[in-house]
């Protein structure tokens, strides 16, 4: 944005406008058909001065990234010895060999991480573009943005921070989208052969992709919250039915899968307009389900992405509507098995179906109901709404919930074909004992298969691998039929943003460490041991008075477990952003509200200038806001870019053991004292701040290890003694219970005697004496020399 001098308060936007003058006569010239392109003119209402880095380029924040990467050096975990991205290859990169283009293994791994993060950022940005374009078409360019009314003044923390802009209406989002699209294109270009060759420069660009990703997510959620009237930062948003057992199978059932909600919203609108709301069930999987329930609390969520195969094969859905992202590529084939038509709605996922967008709905419905067509591609969401509902109602009596799951007798007969070759187990991502369970089933014992259901991620690789063509996944689902019928849980509808007043209330206690931390459970469902672990993690930290946030598939998993009293996490804990709350922000794109809350703590509580001031805000968040992201079942490239957005803000991310397949960790070395020095802003001296947070990207082997690490990673150099004592209490208590004994690094985490929790004083003092520990100062920490108040070493 550039100021046009002399026009006070009038500013030019980045996107151009075209001014055409048919004829202009003046004293000096006579113009005809004059065309002038200038930036769009918008009245500037935001008085905050512009910071140093609005619309940062690929390298604007490189020095900040380097500061983080000096502490958290990449530990690369190559998934392959080779590079096969160009026709020089395959190139063998083992033993310090270089590829034909000159690239080495470290750079190649970071390049692959950048590819993943760029895919993720492009996916959210493209989704945001699709939403904004659609919503502008439907509601107009001037629809005001409203994510929480008067409760949310900082409506777009990422756009304010990164772009230096304060969007007020739908069309304002286009400027930020233009920026994101340019950056993603440039990031992708970096991965071309013969570009970057330095691994740390690749890593810096990974962080850039993550930052762009969070802007893209924010744009998408702001647009849909405002236009669809989703819950607006409401801590008491509705409780939504969740689970296979919550679906009324006596009605026509519609299933939506994906992430782009407009087609699902039009389905609900059509049902409302035709007064058919009680005549059909609208159910969903993955983030479209989440967003659909923000639109209508009567819609139901079946489960996270890993529920796709089991739900389709159950035969319950009569029509399947797919949009974009995380949808199984074989959905059409699976749907054909149960004779349910598929309606594809996104240019990004056409499924090979014929484009029926311009056809008469009567013709499309007739073809789908008669079985003449197995599916249709319809890009008009309104038409999707009508065709889907009419097809579901017409086809349901004919289908009679045709399922492809075997009966128990059939299951036992099929299982007898098993030769115990173990290829199913060897194909299973979690190395589950599939073959033994199938063999036992052949003897009539279904317990093994039933147990597998809880840990199964629903990928279906077991049956693809089976030389006997045993439909292993279907056997598992049949064996667990009782469990699936009992899947009746609930989840709080995604509330969106965090209110400014909530930030004001918790900002101080978080920065001082008295609320031990914000823990966000996000991401996909590639869990090592089933969904239940996520629910257990959430409840443990809520019980300990952390602020727990959830989103996407992890939010669903958090609700799919009942305690001894029969309550789910969302029934036990409040939906407020407060100590002991479990805050479901919404779908994948709602993750921007979680990182946004950290930014808002710096802006609203600490009154740090936000506008185009990324480095200073990130430095504040990194040193003071004890937030940790947890993606226990991270699978996708989007999960990679979401994590990268947290990293650039200095927020650590913990993943499950599958997370090592992202090809690198960012790990600190607590044993290297020299790595942990910070500036004390009060004196300008470089002082030891301790190894906190110890890691930036960490894969835990087990849920127990994750719990202990999460508690540790909420520590920050700025913690007051009271705050550090609270954090240490949680860390030590979890360590004793889950790992056994006192943690081995107490001497690194206690700075002063006052940090020691009173109830553990004796034990800790013994350790400190043994380690010859001495007190050190608690700094007013920063990594940026320009933040020093009275510079001495700057």
């Amino acid at each position: 944005m550039y100021c046009l001098s002399g026009l006070g308060g009038i500013k030019l936007r980045r996107d151009g406008v075209n001014l055409k003058i048919k004829e202009l006569k003046s004293d000096i010239a006579h113009f005809r058909d004059l065309s002038i392109t200038i930036g769009a003119i918008a009245r500037e209402t935001w008085v905050e001065p512009m910071g140093p880095t609005p619309f940062p380029s690929l390298t604007t924040l490189r020095s900040w990234d380097r500061k983080l990467l000096e502490r958290y050096k990449p530990f690369y975990l190559p998934f392959c010895d080779l590079c096969c991205l160009c026709t020089y290859g395959k190139c063998d990169l083992t033993g310090n060999k270089r590829g034909a283009c000159g690239i080495g293994m470290a750079a190649q791994q970071s390049r692959t991480v950048l590819l993943a993060a760029s895919i993720g950022a492009s996916t959210h940005t493209a989704h945001a573009r699709e939403l904004v374009t659609h919503l502008i078409g439907k509601y107009g360019r001037d629809l005001p943005l409203n994510v929480g009314g008067l409760n949310v003044e900082v409506e777009a923390p990422h756009m304010r921070l990164v772009c230096g802009m304060k969007p007020e209406k739908l069309s304002d989002l286009e400027e930020a989208l233009d920026y994101c699209e340019k950056q993603v294109t440039q990031l992708l270009a970096v991965t071309h052969t013969g570009q970057e060759g330095n691994n740390l420069d690749f890593e810096s660009k990974v962080f850039h992709a993550g930052m762009i990703d969070h802007v893209g997510m924010e744009i998408a959620d702001l647009a849909q919250i405002s236009a669809f009237d989703f819950p607006k930062a409401d801590p008491e948003s509705s409780l939504i039915d969740l689970g296979l057992g919550s679906v009324n199978i006596n009605k026509p059932v519609i299933l939506v899968i994906g992430h782009n909600v407009p087609p699902a919203a039009e389905i609900i609108d059509y049902l409302r307009e035709q007064d058919l709301t009680t005549e059909a069930e609208v159910t969903g999987i993955c983030c479209t389900a989440m967003d659909m329930t923000r639109y209508s609390a009567k819609a139901k969520i079946v489960g996270p992405i890993s529920w796709q195969l089991r739900y389709i094969r159950s035969g319950v859905p009569d029509v399947i509507v797919i949009d974009e992202q995380c949808i199984r590529a074989d959905t059409l084939q699976e749907a054909m098995q149960i004779k349910a038509p598929v309606i594809a709605t996104s240019e990004k996922n056409c499924c090979g179906l014929p484009d029926r967008t311009l056809d008469d709905p009567d013709d499309i419905v007739a073809d789908l109901v008669s079985g003449k067509s197995s599916g249709a591609l319809i890009f008009d969401p309104v038409k999707v709404g009508e065709v889907t509902v009419r097809t579901a109602i017409a086809i349901a009596p004919k289908r009679k919930k045709h399922k492809v799951l075997p009966s128990v007798d059939e299951l036992i007969r099929i299982a007898k074909k098993c030769t115990l070759c173990t290829l199913c187990r060897r194909a299973c991502p979690n190395d589950l004992p599939v073959s033994y369970a199938v063999k036992a089933a052949a003897q009539g014992n279904l317990n093994g298969l039933d147990e597998l259901y809880d840990d199964c991620v629903g990928c279906g690789r077991c049956e693809s691998a089976c030389p006997q063509k045993i439909p292993v996944h279907s056997l598992i689902v049949t064996a667990a039929e009782k469990k699936t019928a009992e899947e009746t849980f609930c989840i709080r509808s995604g509330r969106g943003a965090i209110q400014d007043i909530e930030i004001r209330k918790v900002g101080g206690p978080i920065v001082l460490g008295e609320i031990p931390g914000i823990v966000a459970f996000v991401g996909c469902a590639n869990y090592p041991k089933g969904s239940r672990e996520v629910a257990e993690l959430c409840m443990e930290f809520a019980k300990r008075r952390y602020i727990v946030c959830t989103s996407g598939c992890a939010a669903m998993s958090a609700g799919m477990y009942r305690n001894d009293e029969g309550k789910t996490a969302y029934e036990m804990y409040s939906g407020s952003f407060e100590a002991g709350g479990i805050v479901n922000v919404g779908s994948c794109v709602s993750n921007a509200h979680i990182s946004g809350a950290a930014i808002k703590i710096a802006s609203i509580f600490a009154k740090k200038p936000l506008r185009g001031n990324y480095e200073e805000i990130a430095d504040y968040v990194y040193n003071r806001v004890g937030a940790v992201g947890v993606a226990w079942g991270a699978m996708s490239q989007k999960a990679a870019s979401i994590a990268a957005g947290f990293w650039r803000l200095g927020i650590p991310v913990v993943v499950g053991p599958h997370g090592t397949k992202y090809r690198r960790m960012l790990l600190g070395r607590s044993d290297k004292e020299q790595d942990w020095y910070v500036y004390d802003t009060r004196t300008g001296k470089k002082v030891y701040g301790g190894p906190v947070p110890e890691h930036l990207f960490f894969a835990a082997e087990t849920k127990e290890e994750a719990m202990v690490m999460i508690a540790k990673l909420t520590m920050r150099p700025n913690d007051t003694s009271k705050g550090r004592a609270i954090k240490l209490t949680n860390y030590i208590d979890l360590h004793r219970r889950l790992i056994g004994g006192m943690p081995p690094d107490m001497h690194l985490l206690v700075r002063k005697m006052a940090d020691i929790p009173l109830t553990m004083k004796e034990d800790i003092e013994k350790i400190l004496q043994h380690m010859k520990w001495t007190e050190h100062e608690i700094p007013d920490p920063t990594l940026l020399s320009r933040m020093i108040h009275t510079p001495k070493e700057a």
């Binding site: 975990l77 190559p78 998934f79 080779l82 060897r426 053991p657 960490f698 290890e705």
Partner: protein, 179 residues
């Protein structure tokens, strides 16, 4: 099934694959030859049991006889301590993996770098990726796994084998080390 084939079928690394430990004597020789070995034990070691004997008991004996410091990950420490054995360190798997790539790291005791890292009991795919990290970024370090499945990214690995055969092999290694 082929002996030197990744246990998880699709986890194929490339041209550099682990040599097979086809008999326990090989593992013995590798351990004896090492000047500074270290053993990393994951939580899976707690879960394996053959003929009433837990794998962890075999590993304790191996560590004692071979004078090998043991790093335990996750919740494994408690099981060692319950059996009267104090591990040299408690550390997450990715953390010890990362340190082993640092050629300047002088080890848990601050004396010298390690020349052999023995892995056992981590989730297959996690051990696979960590061993890959060491294969590519710890050139002076040799790695060996004691799991019953083939880990192609180690320097040496047992083939895919039954739990019973594997347990017999481990017992032989321990007995031979006592010679």
């Amino acid at each position: 099934m082929p002996l030197a084939e990744s246990w998880q079928t699709a986890e194929i690394p490339g041209p550099k694959k682990a040599s097979l430990i086809i008999k326990p004597d090989i593992a013995d020789a590798i351990i004896r030859r090492a000047k500074r070995p270290i053993m990393v034990v994951g939580y899976g070691a707690v879960e394996y049991e053959v003929e009433g004997i837990k794998l962890i008991e075999c590993l304790i004996e191996l560590a004692k006889k071979g004078k090998i410091p043991v790093v335990v990950t996750a919740s494994t420490a408690r099981e060692f301590r319950n059996r009267g054995f104090s591990p040299a360190a408690l550390m997450p798997a990715v953390d010890i993996g990362n340190r082993l790539t640092d050629s300047t790291w002088k080890g848990l005791d601050g004396k010298d770098t390690y020349d052999l890292a023995i892995f056992v009991g981590l989730p297959y795919y996690m051990e696979w990726t960590i061993l890959s990290g060491l294969k590519h970024f710890a050139s002076a370090l040799k790695t060996m796994t004691l799991d019953c499945v083939y880990q192609p990214n180690a320097s040496w690995s047992f083939p895919n084998s039954t739990i019973k055969d594997w347990a017999a092999n481990l017992r032989d290694i321990v007995e031979n080390l006592g010679d």
